[in-house]
């Protein structure tokens, strides 16, 4: 129920890029404890690239390399939206991607959450004035968290998941 409550909180929290303080491990352990508790050990994430330059995805992929290995903390990128709890969106949102984005979102079972990653999702980035861009993403989906950066570094994304879990826990408490 508390997860549902959160859905109606229409406020996006910003995660700013960090200067590499705090190791991934410390954050990761904390993240794992939260995910274990709230999501029964598995937080499933689905990505939609709505029109990026691909650097944002490259950094999200880097989360699986041995330096971060996000899966050990219980966070897994999944193939089907039907398995996901969270939708991560990157990119400036092109007209051509609007439909696939919304369809993917629809297919995630409730309760569901959106995290936007990269400056493009917030402002449209360098492409904002284009005839073929209909973003930013916030016009169509409410994000709980926005991760700043062009692109956000992997560690900023780990922090974003931590913050996300804090929000979920806080709303569980109230």
């Amino acid at each position: 129920m508390f997860l549902k409550k959160l859905l109606f909180k229409n406020k996006t929290q910003d995660i700013a890029p960090e200067s590499g303080t705090g190791s991934v491990l410390i954050k990761g352990d904390e993240l794992k404890r939260s995910v274990d508790k709230v999501f029964g050990r598995s937080l499933f994430v689905r990505l939609v690239d709505s029109g990026s330059c691909n650097a944002c995805e490259t950094e999200l992929s880097a989360l699986s390399n041995p330096y971060y290995d996000l899966e050990r903390f219980g966070v897994k990128f999944v193939a089907s939206p039907k398995h996901a709890d969270v939708l991560i969106v990157t990119g400036c949102l092109t007209r051509n991607m609007l439909n696939p984005l919304l369809k993917t979102y629809e297919n995630i079972p409730s309760p569901k959450f959106v995290i936007t990653a990269g400056d493009c999702t917030e402002t449209g980035g360098p492409f904002k004035d284009s005839y073929s861009v209909c973003g930013p993403v916030s016009k169509y989906l409410n994000a709980v968290i926005h991760v700043k950066g062009c692109p956000p570094e992997p560690e900023a994304v780990v922090s974003a998941f931590l913050k996300f879990m804090d929000i979920v826990k806080a709303s569980a408490a109230c």
Binding site: D49, A55, N65, N96, M97, P100, G125, P126
Partner: protein, 501 residues
């Protein structure tokens, strides 16, 4: 200044179409087709065909009011460019075999609106369905279709793939791209050369440096800027570092897709180290903002050079291991050899470039063909292999990682003194144009830029190597099993962002 010399010809559309066959048989290949609305200049549209060959670059310029002769049937590589021109300018390529919309989807765009015409009023059509898109059909007993995407089952960019199969082997693959079409060429119009650099660096972020180098070749040639030797060296070092981490990642994905996690993770770890090195050198993991019009934004002092040297040692060790893993394992070779074969004829017909061309026996490497910066002095010979398969493409990447490493080491130890950037006041001559080239990790990146009468961008066209190479995968998968598609796809590792623009 090592400005690229272009052999220019003005020609009538009919004459050009009739002579296209000769051009092809004389060994020249299509580098790209660039249309522009130049009605303010001469009340005509122009369609410029750029051909590459052993004697440099040739340009054929056709002027037109509303249509021009398609050369797609003679030169299949022209197909996509002509469809693009029909979409964005509304100029009809007469006799084109397939004029379905390309980037402006009828599902949300009114096809009578052509955004790259100068008289386009900037009004964006209402978001509604204006028409549909017809896919090719394969019919027959036992044929079934597998539709994939645009949203894929991983951290990948969007694209739609339709496989038609009879039993296991793929009979046909049709790709629909341009989901990420961001209209970048139009966004650049009216911007100055520095603003444009920021935008084009984000066409395809993982190749930002090499794409920017191509842009700067054109921009600095229009602006008449000669950059310093030191800046040239640093640009080449950064370009090779970018190529290296791209190749390392590409090879890692090959291992990943055949389920061989150990070498894959070693290489992903190495990619991370290279990106951390980038951050150490430039403050950014992708080297964003490292280049500027007139030079570079970062200098390499002895501490940074040392950091490069240390990382390069690791590269050598891990790449040696990977080579071993491939060559000593028959099950790895079994997955890579003869998979996703693109034969030489197909590569020629589609005017492929980069690794995809070199793995199919075509010696195409911009660094050697149309040298820029200091590449001409390095006397590079393109490495080629004749397999045309996943193995050939993987082996070439490994070979070229050593090459990049050698270039970086040699240049680092001979870095000339001097400033890293020159200031400039120059304004480009009105309606002057230039082209730029560079070799990215995927192949030739080509820019065409024309300045307007205020010194801003009048027309900018970028051709990403991926735009040229994507159609070839439709041939590469034929007869393969669908389970090998991800592997074939990764062996080309094309960019959707660069293709869709």
């Amino acid at each position: 200044m090592n400005k690229i010399m272009i052999d220019k010809h003005d020609i009538e559309s009919d004459d050009f179409a009739n002579s296209a066959e000769n051009l092809k048989t004389s060994g020249k290949y299509l580098l790209g087709i660039v249309a522009a609305d130049e009605r303010v200049l001469n009340s005509k549209f122009s369609v410029r065909y750029f051909f590459g060959g052993t004697e440099g670059i040739e340009e054929y310029c056709v002027k037109t009011d509303e249509s021009f002769r398609s050369i797609s049937k003679i030169c299949p590589a022209a197909k996509m460019y002509e469809r693009e021109i029909y979409d964005l300018f509304g100029l009809l390529p007469e006799g084109h075999p397939d004029l379905r919309p390309l980037m402006l989807y009828p599902e949300n765009w009114d096809s009578s609106v052509h955004p790259l015409r100068k008289d386009y009023n900037g009004v964006i059509p209402e978001m509604k369905k204006y028409g549909g898109y017809k896919f090719k059909e394969v019919l027959g007993e036992g044929i079934f279709n597998v539709l994939v995407g645009p949203v894929h089952a991983g951290i990948i960019e969007p694209g739609h793939f339709r496989f038609s199969l009879a039993g296991e082997p793929v009979l046909q693959l049709e790709i629909r791209h341009f989901w990420k079409h961001r209209g970048i060429e139009k966004v650049c119009e009216g911007k100055d050369f520095k603003e444009t650099l920021d935008i084009i660096s984000k066409i395809s972020g993982d190749n930002g440096v090499n794409i920017a180098i191509s842009y700067l070749e054109a921009a600095e040639s229009i602006l008449n800027i000669e950059i310093t030797e030191r800046a040239k060296y640093i640009r080449v070092i950064l370009a090779e570092l970018e190529r290296m981490w791209n190749y390392v990642r590409d090879v890692a994905w090959i291992f990943m897709d055949i389920g061989f996690a150990l070498p894959a993770q070693n290489l992903f770890g190495l990619q991370e180290e290279l990106m951390r090195l980038n951050k150490n050198l430039s403050g950014h993991r992708f080297l964003f903002n490292s280049l500027t019009v007139g030079g570079v934004n970062l200098d390499l002092d002895s501490a940074k050079l040392k950091a490069i040297e240390e990382t390069l040692k690791k590269v050598e060790n891990i790449i040696k291991d990977s080579e071993e893993f491939i060559l000593s394992s028959s099950s790895v070779l079994d997955r890579l050899e003869f998979t996703g074969k693109i034969n030489k004829k197909t590569a020629e017909e589609l005017s492929l470039c980069g690794i995809s061309a070199r793995a199919s026996e075509l010696p195409r490497d911009t660094r050697a063909e149309f040298p820029y910066l200091i590449y001409g002095r390095l006397n590079l010979k393109p490495y080629i292999l004749d397999g045309g398969d996943v193995f050939a493409r993987t082996a070439l990447r490994i070979k070229e990682i050593y090459l990049s490493k050698k270039i970086i080491s040699d240049l680092s130890s001979n870095l000339p003194e001097g400033n890293i950037a020159v200031s400039f006041e120059s304004k480009p001559e009105a309606y002057n144009y230039a082209v730029g080239n560079s070799e990215t990790s995927r192949g030739n990146a080509f820019f065409y830029i024309m300045a307007d009468d205020k010194g801003k961008i009048f027309r900018l066209k970028y051709i990403d190597p991926s735009f040229r190479i994507w159609p070839s995968i439709q041939y590469g998968v034929l007869g393969n099993i669908i389970a090998d598609f991800p592997l074939i796809n990764k062996s080309l590792n094309l960019s959707y962002a660069g293709n869709d623009m």
